[in-house]
Symmetry: D2
Subunit: 312 residues, 4 copies
């Protein structure tokens, strides 16, 4: 179980090569031009092991729109800011509904099921904003990413954020709906402004895997040993990623891959092999649940070859 995989570098490169050859790539997200125009033939994979060695394959240093993966980082920050009070306005259960469903909100008085569906992430963003100026909060989010990824070049993509805002009627509906139940504290426009912006952050697989290390290594940077969050909090965020990280395909991801992970419609997935690796994969084509099609398959291969599944 705990024996290290024979040659991680080789495995990563082989998977990248295999994924390059596959023709079942899915389709890129269509709702904004910035995503619709992305070439689905790209594929990147980065794995950072306990010693901090980066194993990479394919387009691992090409930045892409991390979209919903940002929800992991805003959740981390919001828990740091308001602690367990956060759970008064967002639940911790899988939703059994698509990412943008509003039905569940009506049945449960405006409390979103978990922090990784859109409604939940908007509620988390609202908690993080709590009375500050959007700019300050966005600055805080970026500084956190610069710190955990050890890379100050990470930034938001204003064109993506503007497109999201222009077409995000469903998110406006979700936010106003929660506001009607008093679940949001800030003006809807401000909370959504921050939400659209943090979803627009662009990162490469390498940057993303660097950023995810604190979740893989008990809340710490494994190289410097510096603590980002407590080990318990890291475990709990991992649990949420496992049960809720892939919308209505979360059970499928757990069943096939067996690692906590969070996907974004940009085609990225951040995955965590606790104690072993921080992993990021990117393939822009999506499956029917809105998760990266080849990204999931690549992670399934990786977990199989390394024996990293958390389920035995």
């Amino acid at each position: 179980m705990s024996s290290p995989p024979p040659d991680l570098d080789l495995i990563v490169r082989e998977i990248a090569a295999e994924m390059r050859l596959r023709t079942d790539r899915g389709e890129a997200a269509k709702y904004i031009p910035e995503l619709a125009g992305v070439d689905v033939n790209q594929f990147g994979l980065a794995v950072i092991d306990r010693e901090g060695v980066v194993h990479k394959g394919g387009d691992a240093d090409v930045p892409f729109s991390i979209q919903s993966i940002s929800k992991v980082f805003t959740l981390t920050l919001a828990l740091g800011l308001v602690g367990d009070r956060l759970w008064k306005r967002v639940g911790r259960e899988p939703s059994g509904d698509p990412f943008n469903s509003i039905v569940q909100l009506e049945h449960e008085r405006g409390i979103p099921r978990n922090p990784f569906i859109n409604a939940g992430a908007i509620a988390v963003t609202d908690a993080l904003l709590s009375g500050h100026q959007p700019k300050e909060t966005l600055g805080e989010i970026l500084r956190f990413l610069h710190f955990v990824a050890e890379d100050p070049s990470i930034r938001m993509d204003e064109a993506v954020a503007a497109s999201e805002k222009r077409t995000g009627f469903r998110n406006f509906a979700l936010a106003n709906y929660m506001k009607s139940f008093g679940v949001l504290e800030n003006p809807v426009e401000l909370a959504l402004g921050v939400y659209f912006h943090h979803c627009s952050i662009a990162m490469s697989c390498i940057q993303l895997a660097m950023a995810g290390r604190y979740l893989a290594y008990g809340g710490r940077n494994p190289t410097t040993g510096l603590s980002v969050i407590s080990a318990e909090r890291a475990r709990r965020i991992n649990a949420l990623m496992l049960t809720c990280g892939h919308y209505d395909g979360s059970g499928e991801f757990a069943y096939r891959v067996g690692l906590p992970g969070k996907s974004g419609v940009g085609g990225g997935i951040l995955a965590v092999a606790p104690g072993r690796a921080s992993i990021a994969v990117w393939a822009p084509g999506l499956d029917r649940w809105g998760n990266s099609h080849l990204g999931r398959i690549a992670l399934e291969h990786l977990a199989k070859r390394t024996g990293w599944s958390i389920f035995g």
Copy 2:
């Protein structure tokens, strides 16, 4: 991470002692007299480690009605019988609904969300029955339990099965509903007859932890080395237990305990620390989701003290 817990025997006994003292015990299931009459002051815990040593505390050898925990074993058997064809009639996603909800069935044409909600377990039982006589199938289930628990004394409780049948209108509704979509192949009465009987199986914590070893140790009996199922299948059943094993409280269980587990309304929980331990706990009082209240808390303590969470 992989260091063995200092003294498992002590931990188990301490947890049992702590649980004895707690006054927040929840209430026993009320819908049949055989469960309603159980003394909620009982508590049992059994942990079987890699070497096959049994660590026990409290009423670990008192038999109780395993109820829905039996769904793990019938799932194992049905996968052995029909393989991945099983997934044509039952899904692998958390349901986001209570254990006996029928709403989801209407929205998804009679296909239950996962094998651990009632509808899903009935569909699995129907697959296992496939054309055989109920008695044969029940015999097969018992023989499997005798084999994995290494204990031929395990049996069904006819009084419980009869009570379940007499009051099980909701299950009759679910089964007839699936039958209307062609999801069940056998007559409703036969499938439910087997279902009510396997839910009525009585086991102690020790027997249950013995039976669960194949899930904890890559599909094998860790003592004899004999294979029960493949390692991949064991992993996948563990993944299903993690995402769906506690009905609408599955996310909460993953968040707090961090181990794959399956609960029953009799107050039992079977949990698995992959590579480390097979665990069974029993406390008859239930929480609002129908899961054992103190059972969950005991497992939370156990996972914390041992560091066994699969999430880091």
Copy 3:
């Protein structure tokens, strides 16, 4: 408004002739062979005016399976038996769901929305049965029809009842579901036995229009003056037919036809022009809501030519 239509006999014959020529006939119900085999080219219309004159067109004397139209008569009888206590277990609101939906039952603790969806009619049948033998209750229903239609030849079709029972898994699901909430008092099998039998009653348009006179004429037989039910109760049953008589197509029927009516999947519709006429139409082909396609169109024509709409 109250001027009599110029020549009702001519209107009825013209409509029958027009309907004969139409090629958009819909499809007959498919779920049992006895209905699936009915020739969709048949069409019948019968209108009985205040003076008791029968105006008929097409196949007005061919018997067909009245199916859900029987729910009007069992509702009448159940109200006579238990009065307003009936409304403790069935509502009076349109359902907004298909005729056999179970979702609403889960959200409203087993209380069906109204007496004309399947669940509601089963609850009404259960109230009517209340402790009697099914045979007695079925005898009572038939005697009532013989009385109001002045025709002792009306009977049930055992082959249809047997087919309904053999394939009626959805109705078994609904009944068991209500039973689980305590909404049904009798054993599920007995209530459904009576339900399937009264749905199997065969009547011609003429017999049905005769039977419906008490609803059109303030609760009385307009020829003999004998009272069947109070005028207020007749009004209220008419109101229920208007709002709930055509399942999820009730609004459409009110909008286009403007008369209280009740449809059955056998292709029949009983309609009422209060103070003016009792009407029955039959065309076996159904629309997407399960209501007679040409039946509804024929009634739309009839209401337009006679000015009988209750809406002005």
Copy 4:
């Protein structure tokens, strides 16, 4: 049936006197201060007969916020503007859900069930706005009311409209949700601006009964004989009021009162006795469905004493 009631003036005054004495008044709507502050002891009733005689009782000339009753008038105007194309974006079926439910919209791809639930009325307002300036559309609505009520003093209440806008998060959610499906053509803010304003119109019972005459008399002003809309359209709007005019209490209203009607949370109800009377009642206290409690009871008494029920 068509005999005139003995003394309408007396009946109206007696009902007003009876309602004055009742202590079960319900509570006024609470969500904006302008409604919450209204004295629930007020009661008004106005009935305008075929000859144009106004029969009034109680506070029949006190203006109140007509709220959702305005939806009848905007529906009339929108049908005049776009005709049956309107039904491409709004249905004609009772909803079976509360007035502000969003669940139905998700299940039916953003198409509201009918024009009288909030979502439906917003879609109708959007159709009416179609490309014009909000001010022009609001002017058109007011001019229509001035014309049909023969009273140019009717106006909007800016304070009410401003309060609605400030607290109308649920309506913003509904509108954005429909916009996400392309059901709304205009910017959400513009459509809602017009919606909030037409709901804020203040009218007395007398003004409202005057305005409703075209629905009672085949689309015409019965005094001048001038046509407002076709007789068929008047009938159809009446049918929609009957099946959908009281939200989730529409069946109850039809069952008890038996007249087409439309309620508003300001406590008003416009009701129509086709060919006989246009009726407006006002009592600010609401029942559990959000309809005027005493208003409904007063109309039940009126229909009983006059024999005006459309159901016989």
